[in-house]
Symmetry: C2
């Protein structure tokens, strides 16, 4: 995996893909699947909604850090399966044959099989809205991966993969951040 | 347009599409394009990030209501153009040949050409994070529309349209809300 500059992280989150959130708590790794995400700033800040109905909730509140890993479409079925069982009784890395890799700045591991891995600090939790606000502090990209399309949850058990591309860079040229 | 039940609104937002936010303030309609959105609850609650750099910001804070309209891929270019000029000096309905339709519960108009229109109350503004929290209070769907694919911003001036579908309803059957 190569370093992904933090100012490019939003380019993978803005489209609203399914993400995997990896935590390490009490010496145990866990993964949850999250589809309710949003970008907050160009500067690798973003948020997602979860609450105490998720086993990873406590780990996020206590450790205040996680990996947000972006599976490409080749991992779609695994991502759904990961979201359909609980870390309370499942070692998800083992059950789904995923490879944990040591992260640079947080205790939770990267997922080797994912296209993008973002090391994050939880910088706020807005309890009223079950909203975790995250700051990416390091990021990694597997550019050699053949499948780079991300995928999106509809919410009814179906999903869509990134499809046809449209290019409106000319219209937006004055709006794009430097270097993007 | 037909009524869209509020408990089905998240099915169009969860995937992270580009949305148009319509406001009415000082007797003037305006539209802004927003790509930083997220779902907060199954109950038609969601959020988006914006701030005082957007002309619509004041209207949202003062009127506490808006329409969130979802353009399908046939309106992608217009949505980008709408986001590349300001309501301060542009009547966007007129400039982009869009048809305002009277909404049921809010003063801002629906956009006839959009696939989905959600009438919303602003139920909170988290200033620290530039986050508007919305509650859908009525919604409409144009089921006769031929183009139903939504589209997503990458963030660099390119976009992706909803592509190939995946069906994991069987795996998720115990997780799906009733009726979805």
């Amino acid at each position: 995996m190569k370093k992904l500059p933090l100012e490019k992280v939003f380019l993978y989150l803005e489209r609203g893909p399914v993400v995997l959130v990896v935590t390490n708590y009490g010496g145990k790794n866990n993964i949850m699947t999250i589809t309710w995400t949003g970008v907050k700033d160009f500067d690798a800040q973003f948020f997602f909604t979860t609450g105490n109905w998720n086993y990873s909730y406590k780990a996020l509140l206590k450790n205040k850090e996680c990996i947000v890993a972006l599976p490409a479409a080749d991992l779609a079925k695994k991502a759904v399966q990961i979201g359909s069982c609980s870390g309370a009784d499942t070692d998800k890395f083992s059950k789904f044959a995923l490879t944990p890799l040591k992260a640079e700045k947080v205790s939770a591991p990267l997922i080797k099989e994912c296209f993008i891995n973002i090391e994050c600090k939880v910088i706020d939790y807005v309890k009223k809205h079950n909203l975790f606000v995250l700051q990416g502090i390091a990021a990694h990209i597997d550019e050699k991966k053949k499948e780079k399309r991300l995928f999106h949850a509809i919410g009814d058990g179906t999903f869509v993969i990134d499809g046809a591309k449209l290019n409106f860079r000319k219209i937006m040229k004055d709006k794009l951040p430097f270097g993007v």
